[in-house]
């Protein structure tokens, strides 16, 4: 990239900044206040692909999916006013799930700011609580430094979404362009320093523990620390459980992978959270869906917290030792300090609980004795064809929990789900981005009939760009997860959770996407196989049992050890 100054417009500068940051794909939707930038996109279309979503929410979830499978910064663009506000759900989702995004919004001309101009909205004000950083640019010459800062902040440290709002006059104005990537921001420490003593203290606790347990989260994936993490698990011999966003950092079949913690997690790791003598939290933040009632959460255990964000330490769970820093370096530095150990009888306790869960829950879910299809058996059929080598994108609800509980994973970055925000409508657009972020991988979107209809318009995007995602809708004709809570906690009063659904196959076919629907067990395996083997996009609806429940379950506010099997 040349350091020489060139006279260009602010709009062209936006494109040149994106190119300088290595962006070759972005998602968006045009409109008045961002038209100068779109005009430049037209000129640069051989270098930068713009995917026109069918709704700005679709664009931003796609950018999120792209970021999650590629490990790069996702970029979403929209116009001012409604375009910008339509991004907000995705921004909030990315903030709580630490997804690196740069969102670019057009804004009315600076002389109109504050005058309630056409499509003026204070998107900087609106997005402040849900962005890692945001800025409004009113002068073209500020574009390069602010864009550089935006990318730096989005991807460094604990990643997150950043929003850059650019007034239309700043897009039109000409200035002398040069680009310098951002190397640091004075008031922002991306990665906190590691106190060497904390590593020694952590090692001492680990070496002395009798019943230690690891709970890892997405920090391992975001920090690209999968190898260091695995080396730590294997040398320490400690059983390791995952939060929903941590899944796939360690392969499902690993001997020391003891399953998921939290509300619909596995029986063993939830029960034994309240039995272990040492809880080693790695790149996770003790969300309430993980801990249940904090008053009764792991009170008997000492806690070590490996964390990049100082504000997460002692926020929900007090720890004995906090090891600050990126887990990629802290886990590598920890490794020589720990003893090689195994915990046969402790591990056997996990296996004993597994056996109970297997008999009481899993067996029936994966191999139902009833006629109706179960969600679990659909996922089992997917596993049987992919061997676990697929990216599973999920929406929010029962199908999400079933997909995450039963999907097998052999590689990291293989699950994309809306964890912290629980955004219905996430999966279909996120799957488009996930596929474009990992084009060589099979990408399967597992979606409920409810959430599917929240962003179903993105079938148009899939069709136009021929994005090869497999759309698997598990249709129970209910907002199933809410119905489950109504059944369990509201005496079966099914208030507004039953849905009369359209003919989904016809809708997919309307978009020229090959489609099928099955409702019988004997057709399921073939239908799944055909879906996965057909090149390009494919839609499969599986009509499942209407009133199945997801178990195990920790009712809200209950203790992790009060996890229910029925």
């Amino acid at each position: 990239m040349s350091k020489n100054k060139e006279r260009i417009t602010g709009a062209e500068a936006v494109i040149r900044c994106l190119l300088a940051e290595g962006v070759d794909l972005l998602y968006g939707y045009p409109g008045g206040a961002i038209m100068p930038v779109y005009d430049e996109l037209y000129k640069y279309q051989d270098k930068l692909t713009h995917i026109l979503a069918r709704h700005e929410q679709g664009a931003i979830h796609a950018a999120q999916g792209y970021a999650r499978t590629s490990g790069r910064v996702g970029v979403a663009m929209a116009t001012s006013g409604p375009g910008a506000t339509n991004l907000v759900t995705g921004i909030a989702d990315a903030q709580i799930d630490s997804t690196p995004l740069v969102c670019i919004t057009g804004q009315v001309a600076s002389h109109l700011l504050g005058s309630d101009a056409f499509q003026e909205t204070d998107i900087v004000g609106i997005s402040t609580p849900v962005t890692k950083w945001n800025i409004q640019i009113t002068k073209a010459e500020d574009i390069p430094t602010m864009m550089a800062k935006a990318f730096y902040i989005a991807r460094s440290g604990r990643p997150g979404p950043v929003l850059v709002d650019i007034t239309k006059d700043a897009q039109f104005a000409e200035f002398d362009f040069s680009y310098e990537p951002c190397k640091g921001v004075r008031s922002y420490k991306a990665i906190p320093a590691t106190d060497p003593q904390s590593l020694k203290d952590a090692a001492a606790l680990i070496n002395d523990a009798e019943k230690p347990m690891i709970v890892w989260g997405q920090g391992v994936i975001l920090g690209e620390a999968e190898a260091e993490f695995k080396a730590f698990v294997e040398k320490s011999g400690i059983p390791a459980a995952w939060t929903i966003l941590g899944v796939s950092a360690l392969e499902t079949a690993h001997d020391l992978n003891v399953g998921m913690v939290g509300m619909h997690g596995n029986y063993g790791p939830n029960k034994l959270t309240n039995e272990c003598d040492l809880l080693i939290a790695i790149g996770m933040r003790f969300d309430d869906r993980v801990t249940g009632n904090l008053e009764t959460y792991a009170k008997q255990a000492k806690v070590i917290h490996f964390e990049i964000d100082p504000a997460e330490v002692n926020k929900n769970v007090m720890c004995e030792v906090a090891v600050m820093g990126s887990v990629k370096t802290t886990l590598a530095d920890l490794l020589p300090l720990i003893k090689e150990k195994t915990y046969a009888s402790w591990l056997a306790e996990f296996k004993a609980f597994d056996k109970i869960e297997q008999e009481k829950v899993i067996q029936e879910e994966l191999y139902p004795s009833k006629d109706g299809l179960s969600m679990g058996e659909v996922i089992r059929n997917v596993n049987e064809v992919t061997g676990g080598d697929a990216v599973i994108v999920t929406d929010v609800g029962q199908h999400q929990m079933m997909a995450i509980r039963y999907a097998e994973f052999v590689k990291s970055k293989s699950n994309v789900t809306s964890g912290g925000l629980g955004t219905m409508g996430f999966a279909l657009p996120a799957a488009m981005g996930a596929k474009q972020g990992a084009p060589d991988r099979q990408v399967v979107a597992v979606i409920g009939d409810g959430g599917y209809q929240m962003t179903i318009q993105e079938l148009g995007t899939i069709f136009q760009y021929n994005i090869g995602v497999k759309v698997l809708v598990l249709n129970n004709e209910f907002l199933g997860m809410v119905r489950q809570w109504q059944e369990l906690f509201f005496d079966n009063r099914y208030a507004s959770t039953e849905m009369v659904n359209p003919n989904f196959v016809k809708i997919a076919e309307g978009y020229n996407i090959p489609a099928n629907s099955v409702s019988k067990r004997e057709d399921l395996a073939d239908a799944v196989k055909t879906m996965l083997e057909t090149p390009g996009p494919y839609f499969l609806e599986v009509r499942v049992e209407k009133e199945n429940n997801v178990f195990p379950m920790i009712p809200t506010g209950a203790s992790v050890s009060d996890i229910r099997l029925s």
Partner: protein, 176 residues
């Protein structure tokens, strides 16, 4: 339950228009009332300082300060108890002028409180008192029986007894 106390939160920031909003939403989310918030320059060029007064438990203030400090343009945030700070607030009291002549005690009250008279005209006079909260409050209760036309008090400003070391923090950032 831990006891609620007054805490003075000092936030050193880069000058940035959006920061007031960013900082106040952190309080808003936890339903915390800001008793006062003042912004000014600080001892360092181009570094701004917010002084925020809250009443809450130490556990909560610690978490809030952590979340403030995490904001990109915040250089450093601290919290201190009343004992650890020297703080001042200024109050203005507007009173009817005739009282100054009809009620001789008023002159005494003003003198004893160490307040000063900012302005006097035919209709009213204005008293100003700078001091700790109890002092401005004492003057308020002393004047109230005579009738206050207007009363207002500024936010708290405070310096800490201990050094703040912001320059060191900035040096740290610069070295990386």
């Amino acid at each position: 339950m831990e006891e609620k106390k007054y805490y003075t939160i000092s936030v050193y920031t880069e000058n940035n228009v959006g920061l007031v909003n960013r900082i106040s939403t952190i309080f808003l989310k936890r339903h915390v009332n800001l008793l006062s918030m003042t912004a000014s320059e600080s001892e360092i060029e181009d570094v701004y300082r917010f002084t925020i007064l809250v009443k809450m438990t130490e556990e909560k203030v610690k978490k809030i300060v952590g979340q403030i400090e995490k904001q990109i343009e915040v250089i450093k945030a601290y919290y201190h108890t009343d004992e650890e700070t020297i703080s001042q607030e200024t109050a203005l009291y507007k009173v009817k002028s005739e009282l100054l002549f009809d009620e001789p005690q008023i002159q005494n009250i003003i003198k004893k409180s160490g307040a000063s008279i900012v302005t006097v005209n035919k209709k009213f006079f204005v008293i100003s008192k700078t001091g700790r909260r109890i002092e401005t409050e004492a003057l308020h209760s002393a004047l109230k029986p005579f009738g206050l036309l207007q009363f207002t008090r500024s936010g708290r400003i405070a310096v800490t007894k201990e050094a703040m070391m912001i320059s060191d923090v900035l040096k740290d950032f610069d070295e990386e």
